[in-house]
Every structure is written in C-alpha cells, then in structure tokens.
C-alpha cells in the first residue's frame, strides 16, 4: 500500500474556472480525499506543492511517433518520453508510418511495441484508405476490432468527396471516428506558407486560407448528409472556425482540434526563413489567431492537439522549399500555452484542461480524468514560476524542429503521476 499526501497545491477541479488550494490524499493511485486541509496521515509521504498547480494528465490526439519506418527522427520510446516530459499521460499515434498502419495486423503490431516501450498508454489510429492513397477504403472494421480508435489519412487530404462519403457511411456501424485533414490540394499546390503580404515579401509560394475553408465546408456537408462521426484536424483559419460553429449549432456531431503553434504564432514568424516554422497547415495571420482562441473558448474547437511531427536536422536543414512540413510539440505545448495564454489572462485553466485532457480523451473513448474522491490519480504537478528550457540538451524527442528551440518558456512540468506510478520527478 502506498499513501501520498499532496499539500497546499492549487488543484484544477471540475467546474471550477480557477484552481483552488486543496490537499489531496492518494492511496494506491486512487484519490482518497480532497479537502481544504488534510493533516498528517500516518504512513503517508508528504509532498509540499505550495504555489504549484495540480492538474489532470494531458492527452494528445495527434502524435507522429514515426515508428516503424523513421526511427531516425522518433521512436515510440523517445516520443512517449517526450510526451511524459510535456505532462501527457495518453497519446494517439498517427498511422503515417512506413509501412502505414492500414491493417488490423499493423494496429496490433504497433500496440504490442507500445506496450513494451512506452510508459504511458498509446492509442492507435488507422488509415482511412489503403496506403493513405485516398482511393480505396482500408479495412477499417478490422482495425477497429483490434482497438484502433480513429481512421485518418493524416496530412494526405481526402480529395475525393465520393471516398469521404463512403468512408463516413461505412464507419456508421463501427465505433470509430473519421479524422480529416482539411485541405484542397489543387489550391494549396506547391505552397510552403500562408498566402498573404508576408509570403509576397519573402517570395515564397503561398497556401491560401480558402484551401482549408473550402475543405472544412465540404467535409462538414458530407458528414451532415450521411451521418457518421467526423473529427477535423489542424484547424488554422478563422473562417474554418466559423464554419464549424455554424454546423455545430445545427446539431452536427463534429469535433475539431487546433494546435499550440496556430494559437500562439502567425506567419510573421517566417521572416528569416527558419524551417522550424514550416508546417502544414501553415501559420496564418494574427486575426486567425484571435479567431482560434475565441473558438477554443466557446467550445467550437474542442481540443488542442500538438500534431507532434519530428523531422531530423538533415531534413529541416534543407532549403525552405524542400524541407518537410511539421514541428514537434509534446514538450512545448503546456509551458507555451501557459505562458502566452493563461498567465496573461486570455485563457483559464479550466478551458485549457478541457482542451488538453477530457475533450481528447472523449474522442479516444477513454474515461475522463476527474479529481474527485475515488477517482484515478492521473496528474501533473506544474510549477507556474518554473522555467522550461527548450534546447537540444533538454529535449527528450529525437528531433529538435520546435518553433521554440533555443527559448526559455515560463512554467515547468515538475512531476507526472499515472495511478500509483510517478513517471517523472519525485
């Protein structure tokens, strides 16, 4: 039997906008008691959490672990360790591996590897179409039976409305969600950044916002017509948020995610041509940032996903046109969002935790985390006065393509608890 008493922490509780000062008693990984003050309990190990935030463990529904196939950029082990360092206790692995996860056998294979190499649970997504080619449906029922919780072709946008229609219809009888990446390749073309004044100034080919806006509108219309559960990935435009809001108001069952990068950065960051800001969808405008934040607050955007996309130095050191899209995010998301949005008063802890914990958990069909007596203790102790140094030396990920590389962010994940295990710190 193990007993832990966490005293004086600021605890993020359900239905409380701001964290409250509470003591928490944990027995064998289960919360025994939450009270204003719990005096010494015999045999309990005491942790003084004065001034620190105790919040639920995070869940990331969009992580590229690169294994199998590109273990030079990330592995299940390094990616899940990066997740733990960032305060995550559950992640969803994307299927764009090499070979891709497009059969029940591949789902089982990745699950068994993850069981051995990851200290946190890893859910698995399968491909919607064979080989992510966008034309023939993969065996989604078989993958679902093996435990895949989402079917998605990742950044290969479905170009064919017919395939999308059949995919959404076919999955109606299985409990899986279809993840779509909203893009219109005919419009985004060879573009490498948001189309606008900055792309003109830098002489880089632009990706217009309408490439995403049209795709979201098209995908939501198909979903409304045929039913089925659809999840919109990587929303980056204000108009995209507006479309989702409109369809949700009509009662469509849709969920949507945005990323920390799109909330916190815009296309001005590309001045200097640093490829660690090259991502798809591209960083948009300051107005889009505002609209994304509004969408997050009113629930139009259900969740924040990092889209963690590791790439080797060699790939990212190519010129801006040839370097791959994508940035890492697991280790930067919480401190970056905390220091830019929560500390500045633009976002409360409750909304941030909804977006980074229970909304993605609901998408992956895992139990929500609630800090209530009798609840499982899956938590992060976060020091708002601490600092997170983002450097090659400190990062657990095998890749360093973070927009915040070289920076020090305010706030620090100090300890991560999963049931009776302490995954980090302590």
């Amino acid at each position: 039997m193990s007993l832990h008493l966490i005293q004086n922490g600021l605890v993020v509780l359900p239905n409380e906008k701001a964290p409250l000062k509470k003591d928490v008693l944990v027995e064998d990984g289960v919360i025994r008691q939450i009270a204003d003050s719990i005096p010494q309990v015999e045999g309990a190990q005491i942790l003084d959490a004065g001034g620190k935030i105790l919040h639920p463990g995070l869940c990331d529904p969009h992580v590229h672990l690169r294994e199998p196939g590109r273990e030079d950029s990330e592995t299940i082990e390094s990616g899940s360790e990066a997740a733990i360092a960032g305060g995550y206790t559950h992640i969803l692995a994307m299927p764009n591996t090499d070979p891709p996860i497009d059969t029940g056998g591949m789902v089982t294979y990745v699950q068994s590897m993850a069981a051995n190499r990851s200290r946190i649970p890893v859910s698995v997504a399968g491909c919607l179409t064979k080989g992510r080619k966008g034309d023939k449906l993969a065996e989604v029922a078989d993958m679902a039976a093996q435990g895949a919780v989402m079917m998605t072709d990742c950044n290969h946008a479905l170009q064919d409305e017919y395939v999308l229609r059949r995919a959404l219809e076919y999955t109606l009888h299985f409990d899986v969600v279809v993840g779509v990446y909203p893009d219109t390749p005919a419009l985004s073309g060879e573009g490498v950044m948001n189309e606008g004044e900055v792309s003109f100034r830098l002489g880089l080919q632009g990706i217009p916002a309408m490439a995403e806006e049209i795709a979201i509108e098209r995908e939501l219309r198909v979903a409304r017509a045929v039913g089925g559960r659809i999840h919109i990935q990587n929303v980056s435009t204000g108009e995209g948020v507006a479309s989702i809001r409109r369809f949700k108001a009509q009662g469509l069952k849709v969920t949507a995610e945005t990323t920390p990068h799109h909330l916190l950065l815009n296309h001005e960051a590309l001045e200097g041509y640093h490829t660690r800001f090259k991502m798809m969808p591209p960083l948009r405008t300051a107005e889009d940032q505002e609209a994304l934040l509004d969408g997050l607050k009113d629930g139009t955007l259900d969740m924040i996903a990092t889209g963690h996309a590791p790439h080797t130095d060699f790939e990212k050191n190519l010129d801006f046109a040839h370097a791959p899209f994508g940035v890492t995010g697991l280790e930067t998301a919480l401190p970056a969002l905390y220091s830019c949005l929560v500390e500045t008063g633009k976002l409360d802890w409750q909304t941030l935790m909804r977006a980074m914990c229970n909304a993605p958990r609901s998408l992956l069909k895992i139990d929500p985390i609630a800090f209530v007596e009798g609840g499982k203790f899956e938590a992060v102790l976060f020091d708002p006065e601490g600092e997170t140094v983002i450097s090659r030396e400190t990062m657990k990920s095998r890749s360093f393509n973070s927009p915040w590389l070289g920076e020090t962010l305010k706030g620090k994940v100090e300890q991560v608890f999963l049931g009776s295990r302490t995954l980090m710190g302590g």
């Binding site: 189309e195 003109f200 830098l202 002489g203 880089l204 041509y273 010129d319 046109a321």
Partner: protein, 324 residues
C-alpha cells in the same frame, strides 16, 4: 561627399531592405568612378587582390554570373565558379555541407544564386564570407535593382518625384520586388502593370496598381521597366496566350509610337522575349537602356563587392587609381 568618407560597411547584401537610403547612395556614388575605369586601357584596380570570390550558382545563369566574374576580376580578386545542381541537394548533400566545405577553403566572398527564396540568408548565417545575393527564388535580386537605380540616375540625376512603371509578372519576380524597394527608397513613384493573376493585392502599399495601358499613359512614367515573362506561366493558367498577353500588357508597335513621342525610357533586366514584352523596334530605340544596364551591372557589382567586408577583416582603402 567624397568616396573616401565611406563609413558604413556590412558583411552581406541579401535584400535592398537591409540598406538605408544613405548606404544605397554611397554604393551608387562609388560605382561611378568604377565605371569611368572601363574607358581606360587598363580596366583593373588592385582593391581585392589576394581575395577569393566564389560564384555559387544553384540555378543556371550566364549573364549575372559573368557580370559578377568580370566585376570581381576588375577588382583583382581570384574568381572561382562553383555550379551546383539543385538535384544533388535534395539527394543528400545539404547546403550546409557545401558551405562547410567552402568555408574550409577560406573563401572571402560568396555570390549566391538559388531557385529557393531565403537560401542566401541561410548561407550568410553560416559563413564568415561576405555573401551577395545574386537572386533567390521570387524573393530578391538586390544587385539588379542597384544597377537599375544607377542606370535611372544616369538619366535623371534627381530621382525624387520621378515615376516608374514595372510591367509584367510581379508575382514570380525577384527583380520586381527589389526594384520596387530601391525606387521607393530613392523617392521614385512606383506603379505596376500586368495581369491581375500576376499582380497580387499583397504587393507593398506604396505601389500603385494600373489596370490598362491607358492608365499607364495617364501615370506618365519617366521609365517603363518591362519584366521578362517566363513562358511556362501560360501553362499554369495565369493568362490564356502569349498573343493576348502581348496585346494587353506588352509594348506593341502602336504603343511604342506613343512612348517614343513622349520620350519614355525603357528598361528590361534581360533576356528579352521579342514579341512578348516588347516589339523588336524597341531594341534599337535611342532611349532603350538595356545595354547600359548590362554595362552598369559590372560597375555596380564592383561597388557592392567593395562595400562589403567579410567577417574579421578590416575595410580596405580605395585604390589610388580611382581617387583622382
């Protein structure tokens, strides 16, 4: 101001926007005595003797590379051409690998051209050598813009209040972006003329968009600057045909008559597509400055090389030969 009073120096020239108005004028002032050298029997000065200038061209170019080569040789530098095919970059040799190799060879100046925007800036961050951007993607071609400003100034010593129209494919043109900047900094009113598909609304706000040749005549430019049209743009549906492009946006025989009567100067960065941007007659017109642009390119590039200083090197005095 005498050229000996030059105070400013910099390591790289990547884009016109890096330069102040004073710095631009300094460089243009220095180019003048360099150009005067060309009429002498010995066209060479010892300014960069013992220095190595490397032409690092990732994109084929004969004209610009030759212009830099002659400029560097007239400054007595040793010049090496290093042509790299872009495909090798993608296959496995990164730009950084190449730069490390060249860095080890103690090159003093790198003249960089690349089909992707931002590469010269990236290289400049990773080398002690002075880097001159000889054209990157659609981004910038600062030495072209400087030689254009020099040419403009030979015709109009006072540029403030003069007017220029830059015509053609603005969207894909590094020349247009740099010419806009240099002309704006030097007080010239800038307008542009071309198909709406190739003149995006995102151009700098100081550039006026003209929609027809009548509007061009109303704007009454002192200089009409024609850009080279890449023929592959037609395939991507930016305009339906060369014929229609020429009719709407080119200098046709009829339009040339009006321009000649008005005495409008014509500039073009070359090479010219006859029958597209302009009709053949324009080439022999006394106010066509295309050949002067080429000649001035050498003098201006000499002045630019002189203006730049590789890291940890002291600025060299102007040679005796051009002080007089």
């Amino acid at each position: 101001m005498s050229t000996q009073e030059l105070l400013q120096t910099r390591k790289d020239l990547l884009t016109i926007g890096d330069l102040s108005r004073e710095e631009i004028l300094q460089i243009l002032d220095t180019a003048k005595p360099f150009k005067d050298l060309f009429t002498r029997s010995v066209k060479k000065v010892p300014t960069l003797r013992g220095k190595t200038v490397l032409n690092l061209f990732y994109e084929p170019s004969t004209r610009t590379r030759t212009s830099f080569e002659i400029a560097a040789k007239r400054l007595s530098a040793d010049v090496t051409n290093f042509a790299v095919s872009t495909s090798s970059v993608v296959k496995g040799e990164s730009i950084l690998d190449t730069i490390d190799t060249l860095q080890a060879m103690q090159v003093d100046y790198m003249i960089v051209r690349h089909s992707v925007s931002g590469v010269p800036e990236y290289i400049a961050r990773h080398t002690h050598a002075a880097v001159v951007n000889a054209g990157d993607g659609h981004h910038a071609h600062p030495t072209q813009a400087m030689l254009d400003a020099f040419t403009f100034r030979e015709v109009y010593s006072e540029m403030t209040g003069k007017r220029i129209v830059v015509a053609g494919d603005i969207l894909h043109s590094r020349v247009a972006r740099s010419v806009f900047e240099v002309m704006h900094i030097l007080g010239v009113e800038v307008a542009t003329f071309g198909p709406a598909t190739l003149v995006p609304e995102t151009i700098p706000s100081y550039v006026k968009i003209l929609r027809s040749f009548d509007e061009v005549l109303e704007f009454d430019p002192h200089v009409l600057y024609l850009l080279r049209l890449q023929l592959e743009r037609q395939k991507a549906n930016f305009f339906p045909s060369m014929r229609e492009y020429h009719k709407l946006y080119g200098v046709t025989t009829e339009r040339f008559k009006i321009l000649r009567e008005r005495g409008t100067w014509i500039m073009h960065p070359g090479p010219v597509n006859r029958g597209v941007e302009l009709v053949d007659d324009v080439m022999t017109y006394s106010r066509t400055l295309i050949n002067q642009q080429v000649e001035n390119g050498i003098a201006t590039r000499m002045a630019i090389l002189y203006h730049l200083t590789p890291e940890e090197q002291k600025r060299l005095p102007l040679p005796e030969e051009i002080r007089a």
